[in-house]
Subunit: 357 residues, 2 copies
DNA sequence: CTGAAAGCGCTTACAG
DNA sequence: CTGAAAGCGCTTACAG
């Protein structure tokens, strides 16, 4: 028996120099060249503690030397799960999508995971089926749900049902906090309100996003609550629901600014709508910030491109994406103890000033 | 023999009702249930012509019935190539990236392919190695090269060397046209020049992108050539090289607008820099379009958000992305006969007017 | 701490 | 036009 073992070893060693150069090294090459079984190599790949330290070091040195990297397709097939993270989103602003992607990629860099993008239309009837096919067919390791897709409970339920792990990004806890990144939009809006109050504004108006969006609801609530804490109540005519789009912002601003008594300040649920306010003000000859203060939400590139540059609530989207992805690729059971959240804060630029009176 | 065959058939049929429900159907299930070999099922999956029509139809009906979809991981492992398309880009505008992604996804929809994103930094020394690792490790089916990454010949050479198919998107043919989508930036810039000339402008200035970018070079050349065709030569002081960024646009505009003799019109290599021109003009009290006409390039969302809205050259980025992806997933040898290209065209808005004199 | 056998769900190479 | 055998590069389940 011992003899046989020895001969096998020898054979392995002699093969060492003959590994074909054209083809990338496989787990078999590594096992053969380092004189261990492929199972041991597999344990090393998967960071199993059940490997002696010197064995591990010897094998890892060889891996580096030959530039070995395990094949994600083979691993995926055996694991019955790929090394792909999906990002599911429903047509938010381009900059927001891109920031979220960059953030996720920050977390995936150096790991074996890659990011697969999956935009969808949450208003189309078959969209949940589409995500389901995507997840099951690709055997995704997990999926990041970006607002507004993240706000759809039916989508999360479907993923739960098919056993796909996910992280939901939302303005408040909609789910088990271990699968959430919370963006605290309420606080961001409150900071905008406090800022306008501190400048002395009392006749303030609000252009909100669609009430069906949790983010819009949270920002509105945060803003109104902060005003009420200082004893100011917004009359209904000062609150206009719009659609998070530039055009809807224009329409809302026309209602607010072209009447007889206009507010001295406007807070909008995102920067796109703030750009709409700018357009109406410019056209009507209303000077920002002298006659009208404006605060947006997003701190998109648009905020600094506009003139005067727009004071806006920064969302730290890249951090959000990074956190969401990091949660998904964390080894099981090693979940973070604290709740994942990212805090917004106000970026002051040139669009606000104390009211004239 | 016949008897044995029959008994096997029978056995297969009786197994039909006992396929475990918990687990997704595999090629073996389909083969067994439809009484053909798995190789035949494989032929059907891969659209091989070597299958009798009725066999194909019978098997396809079964696939639909049980909701069978082949496992991309298993296929990838056997093919030694995944069903992933990579998109490689170097920090262009968010909207541009997103449009490109949407376009690529348009082409991939309904196919077995998915899109994996890979932003990179072409100025960092190791970036080509990074793309190489990405491509080889994931065994990508192909990769879409977006400007400016697409303009780097060393990157294309590396991909060629490792045998990775790619499509380069660029303003002109940098490569074998079968692996290019050409965006004809020269023509777009020429259209901008013709438009300004048609309004009567003669003292025109140009803010270009970095000369190391082919897109910037092409747009500049297209613009200058079009002016020369009408007998107008731009003096060097009227051409300022900037960095494609808002801030660099501001700096360039300050040189052009705050001197004694300012031009009556400015063409910028992208919309970001046009926004910089707006800022300087606004601050200096120069009325656009009355005292200054401005034309941008990109037709980004910014163009309609600015006030007055910006006349700009539309790039049809989504079409570009769709074309690039379609080329990559086309069956071999079935390459298009005509050269893939996407034409830009001018979108006229409110930022231009005949000069005052 | 280590390994031999079987299997993940497909395709290739060969045979008929 | 169809199929049986071997293999892609890993992991799981089991044994020691």
């Amino acid at each position: 028996m011992v003899c046989k073992d020895m001969s096998l070893r020898k054979k392995a060693d002699s093969d060492a120099t003959t590994r074909p150069q054209g083809r990338a090294a496989t787990i078999n090459d590594i096992a053969r060249l380092s004189g261990v079984s492929k199972k041991t190599v597999s344990r090393i790949i998967n960071n199993s503690p059940l490997v002696r330290k010197d064995t591990r070091e010897k094998v890892e040195a060889l891996m580096r030397e030959v530039g070995y990297a395990p094949d994600p397709l083979a691993r995926g097939l055996a694991f019955r799960r790929s090394f792909l993270i999906g990002m599911v989103y429903d047509n938010p602003t381009a900059q927001y999508v891109v920031d979220m992607q960059y953030g996720a990629l920050d977390a995936l860099r150096g790991s074996s995971f890659e990011l697969v993008v999956h935009p969808c239309d949450t208003r189309s009837p078959g969209y949940i089926e589409g995500v389901k096919r995507f997840v099951q067919q690709q055997k995704l390791h997990g999926v990041i749900l970006v607002p507004r897709a993240s706000e759809d409970q039916a989508l999360a339920d479907m993923l739960e049902e098919i056993g796909c792990r996910y992280t939901r990004i939302a303005s408040l806890a909609l789910d088990d906090t271990s699968q959430m990144v919370i963006t605290h939009d309420r606080d961001g809006a409150a900071e905008a309100a406090d800022y306008l109050l501190s400048l002395g504004h009392r006749d303030i108006a609000l252009i909100t996003g669609p009430s069906a969006y949790r983010s819009a609801h949270e920002r509105t609530a945060g803003f109104i609550d902060a005003l009420e804490r200082r004893g100011i109540e917004l009359p209904p005519a000062r609150i206009i629901e719009a659609g998070y789009t530039f055009e809807s912002g224009v329409a809302a601003a026309e209602k607010l600014l072209l009447g007889k008594q206009r507010p001295t300040a406007i807070f909008t649920g995102n920067d796109e709508m703030a750009a709409g306010v700018y357009k109406v003000a410019m056209r009507a000859g209303i000077n920002i910030p002298r006659e009208l203060s404006v605060v947006g939400y997003d701190d998109s590139p648009l905020a600094s491109r506009l003139w005067p540059s727009l004071t806006s609530v920064r969302r730290n989207t890249r951090d959000t994406g990074r956190t969401a992805a990091a949660m998904l690729i964390q080894p099981e059971g090693q979940a973070a103890l604290q709740i994942a959240s990212v805090r917004p804060h106000l970026i002051v630029r040139d669009s606000c000033q104390p009211p004239l009176d």
